[in-house]
């Protein structure tokens, strides 16, 4: 076959090797065994296409740049892995990735962010309450005859505290519930977004 003439073989082998090396680097976040399997398959594809008579430049350009190709693999991986993860960091990273792709993703990302902040603040408040009982809690303030409530999680002007020491378990439990609900909501959204992509 003309494609294996000695004159074209050298640059061809080089450009294939360069492509695969770049792809290997870009696929770094993926597990070793899966990465090698991907590289083996892409190498077979390049070889088959080339041997069928497609010029090597065309073969490689149709695959996309190594960065583009690797991104397609990683996108699926990140979201799939995150939809089973419990780590706020992983989940936020996945929603951040989705946020770059549409309005729903942006809303979910900010929802997730607010959820984690709120849940985290409640838990931290519950833990710190014993150390700063007058600064942390849910307070009401009575002024003159009007009874109006001024509520806040942190205030120095405490007149009457609503929950007292009960604030600790209440803050801890509600904080944990907010964190769990946030996590479940993100995972549900990630699963749904995978399903939408699939069933479009």
């Amino acid at each position: 076959m003309t494609s294996t003439q000695p004159t074209t073989q050298q640059p061809t082998t080089q450009s294939i090797a360069a492509y695969l090396a770049a792809l290997r680097l870009q696929l770094a976040p993926i597990t070793l065994s899966e990465r090698e399997e991907i590289l083996r398959e892409i190498a077979a594809h390049i070889r088959d296409s080339f041997e069928a008579g497609t010029p090597i430049d065309t073969v490689l350009s149709r695959l996309g740049t190594p960065a583009q190709l690797a991104a397609e693999y990683r996108d699926g991986q990140l979201i799939r892995a995150a939809s089973r993860s419990l780590s706020p960091l992983t989940l936020l990273r996945a929603t951040l990735r989705l946020a770059t792709k549409g309005v729903t993703g942006i809303i979910v990302f900010f929802g997730a962010f607010i959820g984690y902040i709120t849940g985290g603040a409640l838990v931290i408040g519950g833990i710190l309450k014993p150390f700063a009982p007058n600064q942390i809690g849910l307070f009401t303030t009575n002024t003159t005859r009007d009874v109006w409530k001024q509520t806040g999680l942190v205030t120095n002007d405490a007149r009457h505290e609503i929950f007292g020491w009960w604030g600790i378990p209440i803050a801890l439990v509600s904080g944990v519930i907010v964190l769990i609900l946030t996590t479940l909501a993100i995972r549900l959204f990630l699963r749904l977004s995978q399903r939408v992509q699939r069933s479009l």
Binding site: E41, A44, H45, A52, E72, Y73, L200
Partner: protein
């Protein structure tokens, strides 16, 4: 003035396969997953065969880099299995086959797709029959 006149060329599959807007990329990507499953309906194929099958049977000309990540994902979702087969060519090729779950998914997708397409067809009928909007 036929300002909004539809050019038939813009609807051809060739035009659809060229670079379009992001919506088109999303649409193609979604459809491609179903197309990849459908290509395997009659038996196992390797990546390049799937690409050729789609080109021959549907004029779905695709950037080849998109099909392999899709196959990879479908395999992780247990819709496909794969095996390396030593070919006549002298190097092994990765063959994909549908699992039972994959068949089941494809049946559901096909039904949903046909219903969806029928609805969209109805919507597009006036666009296609009246070449020029009444002014």
């Amino acid at each position: 003035m036929a300002r909004n006149k539809l050019e038939p060329d813009s609807l051809s599959s060739e035009a659809l396969s060229s670079r379009g807007g992001p919506w088109e990329a999303q649409l193609r990507k979604g459809a491609l997953e179903m197309a990849a499953l459908a290509a395997l309906w009659n038996g196992r194929l390797y990546g390049l065969e799937i690409i050729r099958f789609l080109e021959q049977h549907s004029q779905l000309v695709l950037a080849e880099g998109t099909i392999y990540p899709i196959l990879n994902r479908l395999k992780t979702e247990a819709m496909l299995t794969s095996e390396w087969v030593e070919a006549d060519a002298g190097h092994p090729r990765k063959y994909y086959s549908l699992t039972d779950a994959g068949r089941q998914r494809l049946r559901l997708m096909a039904t949903a797709w046909v219903d969806f397409a029928r609805g969209v067809d109805n919507l597009l009928q006036p666009v296609l029959t009246n070449q020029e909007p009444t002014q």
